[in-house]
């Protein structure tokens, strides 16, 4: 009898445990997948900024810059910059288990991170305005100022690129 109960109980409890475990694992897997997506999206956004920045820098360095390219790049950067903090949901740091350059400090020093991101958004908007103005000297100056906000933030919050 007892043996019977055991044989009955065992699969039942195992099944229950299995279900709970599956639910937890499933939940974790879903969250991990979410985080992987967040990281992928974030990298795509940053790449968009990188592309626009390169196109702009090419012109800024040129003795005969094409204003239209600078202006288009400035628009792209200005439109993306204010969104930047939203690309860093909690859990999308090094603990996500996906390769990311995002350091844990983004969340442990959240205030400083938000301040740096805001500084970038401000300079990016200024750059957009100045680019529209078309004064190449002023554009070059503001490109430096905006680039500096990138570097400042990356120094603290991004793993050095390998």
């Amino acid at each position: 009898m007892s043996q019977r109960v055991k044989t009955f109980a065992k699969p039942a409890s195992t099944g229950l445990c299995g279900l709970v475990l599956a639910a937890i694992l499933g939940g974790l897997a879903a969250e991990a997948a979410d985080m992987a997506t967040a990281i992928k999206d974030r990298q795509a956004h940053f790449k968009e900024i990188g592309k626009a920045t390169k196109a702009m820098v090419d012109q800024v360095k040129s003795p005969t810059p094409t204003l239209a390219v600078i202006q288009a790049s400035a628009k792209t950067i200005d439109s993306l910059a204010p969104q930047l903090p939203s690309w860093f949901p909690a859990g999308s740091g090094p603990e996500a288990g996906v390769k990311t350059g995002a350091k844990a400090e983004i969340w442990t020093k959240a205030d400083e991170f938000k301040k740096d991101a805001a500084a970038f958004a401000v300079e990016a908007h200024k750059f957009d305005m100045i680019a529209a103005g078309g004064d190449i000297g002023a554009i070059r100056m503001q490109a430096q100022a905006m680039g500096q906000t990138c570097k400042t933030c990356h120094q603290t919050f991004r793993q050095k690129d390998d």
Partner: protein, 246 residues
């Protein structure tokens, strides 16, 4: 070793007869030693500036390295006898024969200039450095903020591709430099030959005996060629800094 210019110098120790003591023999001319020294300085400086985020300087140093490389490659075509590719790039028979002697601990012919294995090591180092500056010219950093002088000719992705291989090739270059240093240590410890002092002073002390026969000392190239190579190297270096704008 065959010499391309001037006469083959038979070593005269000044005593008339063959001297039993090691006699100094000229091995490396000034341009070889100078470019070698600059390679060391510029590679260390390029590495240091990159790892400290001094990218403006990293790019300037890269352009300087382009100039020194061009100078050294030209010197390999028309420089002093031991600097020439035609003299130090030997065939597989010579390389294998030399390696066999080293492995057995047998004496080798005194090398005035690169030995058959060392010649290819130099070719690999020069090749790696050339590849490295070429990739650097097109490299773009992940932010699109820092880019090489020719990066405006390529897309962001192509520039990132170049930057990736710029990083890989640097590690390969480090490996080759490591091998180079191991070889120097090998000659110092096992074969008791001081290659460092030879590169610093340009001279090697070689025991001249009946066994070794005549020694082909270094034959220098005329000074105007040094001037020509230096001017071309410097010009290309400065031109690279402007992104080769015409």
């Amino acid at each position: 070793m065959t010499l391309n210019i001037g006469q083959t110098g038979k070593l005269d120790t000044g005593e008339g007869e063959i001297s039993p003591a090691p006699a100094p023999v000229r091995v490396w001319d000034l341009p070889v030693r100078l470019s070698h020294g600059l390679f060391i300085l510029l590679i260390v400086a390029a590495w240091w500036t990159e790892s400290h985020g001094q990218m403006d300087w990293h790019i300037r140093i890269g352009c300087a390295l382009i100039g020194v490389l061009i100078f050294r490659l030209l010197w390999g075509l028309f420089g002093g006898s031991t600097a020439r590719f035609s003299a130090f790039l030997r065939g597989p028979v010579a390389v294998v024969g030399y390696a066999r002697k080293l492995a057995r601990g047998e004496p080798t012919d005194p090398s005035i200039g690169h030995n058959p294995m060392g010649g290819w090591s130099v070719a690999a180092l020069l090749g790696a450095m050339t590849g490295q500056v070429c990739l650097g010219l097109f490299s773009v950093d992940t932010d699109g903020l820092v880019s090489g002088p020719l990066a405006d000719r390529v897309s962001f992705d192509q520039g990132r591709f170049a930057a990736h291989w710029h990083g890989v090739l640097f590690n390969i270059l480090l490996g080759l430099i490591g091998l180079h240093l191991c070889a120097i240590a090998f000659y110092a410890l096992i074969r008791e030959e001081n290659l460092i002092s030879a590169m610093l002073t340009g001279e090697r002390r070689i025991l001249i005996g009946p066994v070794s026969g005549p020694i082909n000392a270094l034959t220098s190239a005329p000074i105007w060629r040094l001037g020509l190579a230096a001017v071309i190297g410097l010009t290309v270096s400065l031109w690279a800094g402007t992104g080769f704008k015409v």
